[in-house]
Symmetry: C2
Subunit: 436 residues, 2 copies
């Protein structure tokens, strides 16, 4: 058997400890599959004293995390520190420059600096791998960049944030409102004490930007992801969706479409959507993630599994290590960095969608006429309209409507016409429909 | 860019023509991803004259398929001839011996001769790849051998035959009986004129044996797959299953379990099962395939997509070609052939299951007492029992029961006690439950 592949592990949080446990539990199996042993030689973290439930005495402790990149006895640096910049980025940069391969679960760092790091890897011949950065334990980067490698990708869409999916599917199952379920999710450890990153869609947007770059051969463009979170969704929206045959999910979606100049433009959006019950994403409940890849030959592929957690994330980290040990070297973004296209941003207004619009209005005559007139004036065709019978607390009434398929710009225009109307007690909520 | 990867394509049926169409349509994209062009140089099939809807004039025609293995201008032989032995096997053997890589969609050949071919590939340093042999366009072999490489696999189970799934889910949707739906499936091209291979479970068993070898590091053992088909399932069974919260699917399942001597034994079974509606396989409808891999760290991973068809299968074939072009060389069965274990066959009798038992009985007094007495005497605990109110044609009555969890050997013993009973008008049907 070949020489062991030697690992330096930076970051010993939940995932770092999970990687140690995994390598200890499955080491013999991994050695057979990789054709060589995978050996953790050094570890590093901010706090040496913390009890992580794993025995660290057999690994060399490195006080200076940055020094791991320069160790002559290391082939792969596993970065599990987190944060888009700072020590994680310094470590990754230095390791790749020194010809050490880097495996990371850091979606923020890859979304912001993935191209720079991939270029460094190309220059030094090292590997850069980040399967664990997207959809936890699901091998979706592999599925996309290798499994679907023969396809021109038509679209990808996925449930990329387990916290949001837990909250939405729990709201659905219990009829409770967002705030209450969020609190419970925090108590259960499904949501952070500061949940903004998850519930406002940023985390899903990081992951979507990474997938979109791979799927469409585009330079990663996180800033261009239109991102909405789930904080404004009410229990009543879920009831309305249900009545229409839909569930609500936070969906990241990306596609390439021809712009007015004929050039392909990249569409990237994270948005809560009404997903038809017949669509595979509708069945995804709890903290599960799922990604649909539509290829021009493969058709629809679905990858589903645990989107987070120590075990699943460690599984993805070590899968990357096994790939490196085997000598498998798919480019981080499937093609060389210089082959990635600078794609212009698609204008959402051109897209044809069916939309769900929800208004909270004061309970007085003429409100419905005002809303429907705005729709008519903007050229939005209404498929169905529901006005909730009973006012909510404070005399508010919910009006929900679903449009026929039409340009999103028309819906935006209708909302512009309603802006500032004293009938509306909060800004309207718009969610596009998926499937059905 | 590196030299093109040169392909010889043997077999120009639906899938072969699909591969040509795919390489023509996506060639530039594939070259960027593979880091080199993929070039079909020679093609061969039995009938040169047949119109396949693709222009073959740009490829060299080889009359003697076997000669393709020896061509000096070929790097990869793509075998799409079919059949477990005969020309396909000769071609694969000779190509691998000559150091040419082989890509195949031939599940029967791999199920019967995969180890021999993998050993030849190891000896000559060539690649042997067969993603398209299992679950069509779904990259499940890659997902299992690479994506889940860090895991000890607890079990795999999947819907591996699109024809059966089409028939079962259509029976479910329409309430029609097996024979009628099969006929329709044949007219629509979802079932072969001679459907035995599919509906008796052999095709699924081939695929299961391949997946099991990879998942459990075992020498492939197709002969040990316990296989039952779907021909005996009646519309009434689907109605009963529905009332219990289940759907019926043909499920291939494999697991490793400790035998009485403490040694791991391999369990492989293709059987129609009652799948709980909450289980991800319950949502798989039509000709779709899906595979669940349960890993000890990743948890449950689901891979789903089109299980057959020219486009999806070509997608998997060309993904293998891209892997070869990139230099990615995972062993065909994930580990070296010499590392695969000769695993003894697990005895199903030891397994704990909940089972659905269906009896067709004559409509006369005492029948229920006879059946329930046999259950009692064999130690089978009954959870629920349904006797259909109205006799079917011929005075037959359906009696269905679901057992509590218990050893399968007890159910077998109960059926043995009922053997030869004049009350039973046909052999009882037993289906185990999955999920729920």
């Amino acid at each position: 058997m070949a020489e062991p592949l030697r690992i330096a592990l930076a970051g010993l949080g939940t995932v770092g400890a999970g990687v140690i446990r995994l390598v200890e539990a499955n080491g013999a199996l991994i050695a057979r599959r990789a054709g060589r042993a995978v050996e953790i030689v050094a570890v590093s973290a901010r706090d040496r004293g913390r009890d992580r439930g794993v025995d660290l005495s057999r690994y060399q402790w490195e006080d200076d995390m940055a020094a791991m990149a320069a160790r002559g006895d290391v082939d792969v640096v596993v970065e599990l520190v987190g944060g888009s910049d700072g020590p994680a980025l310094t470590l990754a940069r230095n390791a790749l420059k020194a010809g050490r391969s880097v495996v990371t679960a850091n979606k923020a760092m890859i979304a912001h600096h993935g191209l720079e790091l991939a270029a460094l890897a190309e220059q030094s011949g090292a590997a850069l791998k980040f399967e664990a950065a997207v959809a936890g334990g699901i091998p979706v980067i592999k599925g996309l960049s290798e499994g679907a490698a023969a396809n021109s990708v038509d679209s990808i869409h996925g449930i990329l944030n387990g916290t949001c999916n837990y909250i939405l599917s729990t709201m659905e199952a219990t009829g409770r409102d967002f705030g209450e379920v969020l609190k419970e999710a925090q108590q259960l450890g499904y949501a952070e004490a500061d949940p903004a990153f998850d519930i406002e869609g940023t985390d899903a947007a990081h992951k979507l930007a990474i997938l979109a770059a791979i799927a469409f051969g585009a330079r990663i463009d996180f800033a261009a992801v239109r991102t909405e979170g789930i904080t404004r969704i009410r229990a009543a929206d879920i009831v309305q969706a249900d009545a229409l045959g839909y569930v609500i999910r936070l969906v990241g979606m990306a596609g390439a479409e021809a712009g007015p100049d004929g050039q392909a433009r990249l569409f990237q959006r994270v948005q809560p959507r009404l997903v038809a019950r017949s669509h595979p994403l509708a069945h995804v409940r709890g903290a599960t993630n799922a990604v649909v890849v539509e290829g021009n030959f493969a058709g629809r592929l679905l990858f589903e599994g645990a989107g987070a957690g120590a075990g699943p994330t460690a599984s993805a980290v070590v899968a990357d290590i096994v790939d490196i040990a085997r000598g498998n070297r798919t480019a981080p973004f499937s093609v060389r960095v210089s082959d990635l296209a600078e794609m212009a941003v698609a204008e959402a207004g051109h897209r044809q969608s069916r939309s769900y619009l929800r208004f909270m209005v004061t309970d007085r005559p003429g409100v419905l006429a005002e809303i429907t007139a705005a729709m008519r004036d903007a050229g939005v065709s209404i498929e169905s309209l529901i006005q909730q019978g009973r006012p909510e607390e404070g005399g508010e009434v919910l009006v929900a409507l679903v449009t026929h398929e039409g340009p999103e710009s028309a819906v935006a225009e209708a909302l512009r016409l309603l802006e500032g109307s004293p009938s509306l007690t909060e800004a309207p909520l718009v969610m596009n429909l998926l499937g059905g």
